[in-house]
């Protein structure tokens, strides 16, 4: 496979597809656990994400990445600013067409893989034949066919995350939010899962927003990468990778790959040091 990419660029919006997700001046403040002080987690986050785009977010620990994802998903409400998905404001309710996978394994241990994947469809009264068709497809897509009757406790961590992804995919979301879904996996499994994610993204044509600690993962997977500052988090740079839509982990050997990760790190280094200072407080 030959993959060529243009040099990483400071991108406004490279995509020609219509904007599907828009964040305008999103800020968020919350009370600390002891209630003694307020914490400003996010400060004026602005970004526009195009339909079918793969957008990754990297940033130092505690910079508000997961809070931002919760706000996009409608699981939390921004203190200021607005989030718009498909032209409608997202405010405290998960919009139709949005699916999310979290870092923690949230597969249901009391259900088989098949029943886990079918769970959401059954709760929404989808016809049995349609459930079977969609579940079989999602299970095959995630390479879980041989384990459909197994329970999560019999699977590895990577396979359990695939179950969670399949459970989300089966609902046919147009926007998939991933909060470090491979964070607990070893590096080799992460790479393979990343490849599967790219394949799914191409097949479903969904828009993906991925939060990750791994600069390599972001550089391999994303069309654009938003680099967040230390808390209060905001985008200090958005880097376009310029990769072709058909790509996999072999992109690591492309000379541009090193340029992208180096650029991300040069933006992040000072912010990560700030973040380490904050953690001590």
């Amino acid at each position: 496979m030959e993959m060529t990419a243009s040099a990483p660029t400071q991108a406004s919006v490279e995509h020609t597809a219509p904007v599907v997700l828009s964040l305008n001046g999103v800020s968020h403040t919350y009370a600390s656990e002891d209630g003694a002080r307020t914490v400003r987690a996010l400060s004026r986050v602005d970004v526009e994400i195009a339909r079918g785009e793969f957008f990754a977010i990297v940033g130092p620990s505690g910079c508000g990445k997961s809070t931002l994802l919760d706000i996009i998903a409608g699981l939390a409400t921004a203190s200021e600013g607005s989030v718009t998905f498909e032209g409608r404001e997202v405010r405290g309710t998960v919009p139709d067409g949005v699916g999310a996978v979290f870092q923690e394994d949230t597969s249901f241990p009391w259900l088989s893989v098949w029943d886990n994947v079918a769970f959401g469809l059954r709760r929404h009264g989808v016809e049995a034949a349609e459930i079977a068709r969609r579940v079989e497809h999602a299970i095959a897509l995630m390479g879980l066919g041989a384990f459909a009757r197994h329970h999560p406790a019999e699977l590895s961590g990577g396979m359990r995350q695939r179950v969670c992804i399949a459970r989300t995919l089966v609902l046919q979301p147009r926007l998939i939010l991933l909060d470090e879904p491979f964070g607990a996996l070893d590096q080799q499994t992460r790479l393979l899962m990343g490849e599967e994610l790219l394949r799914l993204w191409r097949e479903t044509q969904a828009t993906v927003v991925l939060i990750t600690h791994s600069l390599d993962e972001a550089a391999m997977l994303a069309d654009r990468i938003g680099v967040m500052s230390a808390r209060p988090g905001s985008f200090i740079e958005v880097v376009a990778t310029g990769w072709p839509r058909t790509r996999d982990s072999r992109i690591f050997s492309d000379s541009r790959f090193g340029e992208i990760t180096a650029r991300l790190w040069s933006s992040l280094r000072a912010e990560s040091m700030k973040s380490m200072g904050q953690a001590g407080r």
């Binding site: 139709d96 009391w110 989300t168």
Partner: protein, 244 residues
């Protein structure tokens, strides 16, 4: 024969062997042999008064179990669901769980008098606290990610409670039920030992007063079998719910 069948059998054989050794060491004045105990239990089993006493104990035990679950489970779930209620109530419930309940026996007798209700009450004060405390723990240990997942899957509050939170909490709740049921049996028997004119506990205290060692051992073996059957039943359900 697989390990699951063989291991309990080996344990039973080892326990009987140890019992026989104790009999040889301590002598027939202190302990009856396994064979003599079994023979006495078979004889008692042919006496209708034994079954009347066993029926009285099982009835009190049954009531104690039902009440312990009916009080302990909703109490534990309600307290577990609210942080403030949990912070305030858990130390109090833990204290009640730890104190020797025998100290409350005079109070129970004054309130309920002699008879079935006092035995049931004594069973309940033994059974209710582990059930409530395990239910509190089960609710507290529910991962917040389950709630986030339920919201992302667009579940209603009722669907979230019945299809996600209840099955997630069930294994720990069942462990509490298993311990609570065993404790309720213990409480019921202790109640019968001290002030009752019926029941296996009453038979035990009478046998002790008359130094009928074989009767003591036979009734104890029978109680052991009841506790073992109740525990094995609940353990089997619990294992089924451990999702392999």
């Amino acid at each position: 024969m697989n390990r699951r069948t063989l291991d309990p059998l080996l344990l039973i054989v080892a326990a009987i062997a140890l019992w026989q050794v104790l009999f040889v060491v301590a002598g027939p004045d202190a302990i009856a042999s396994p064979l003599a105990t079994l023979q006495r239990l078979i004889t008692l089993g042919q006496d209708p008064r034994f079954w009347m006493n066993a029926g009285a104990t099982l009835a009190a035990f049954g009531y104690a179990c039902v009440l312990s679950i009916a009080i302990g489970l909703p109490l534990g779930v309600a307290v577990g669901a609210h942080k403030l209620a949990r912070d305030v109530s858990e130390p109090i419930l833990s204290a009640f769980y730890s104190i020797p309940k025998i100290t409350l026996y005079p109070v129970i007798l004054l309130i309920f008098g002699l008879g079935l209700s006092a035995k049931v009450a004594f069973g309940v004060i033994h059974g209710v606290f582990p059930i409530a405390l395990f239910a509190i723990g089960a609710i507290r240990n529910l991962s917040p990610s389950l709630l986030r997942t339920a919201r992302v899957l667009h579940l209603s509050p009722r669907q979230t409670a019945t299809s996600v939170l209840a099955p997630a909490a069930l294994p720990e709740i069942l462990t509490g039920l298993r311990i609570g049921v065993s404790a309720a049996l213990l409480g019921t028997i202790i109640g019968e030992l001290f002030a009752s004119s019926q029941g296996l506990g009453f038979m035990l205290i009478r046998a002790m007063e008359n130094h009928q060692v074989a009767d003591i051992m036979a009734v104890t073996l029978f109680l052991f079998l009841i506790a073992g059957i109740a525990n094995a039943g609940l353990l089997a359900i619990e294992r089924r719910l451990q999702w392999k």
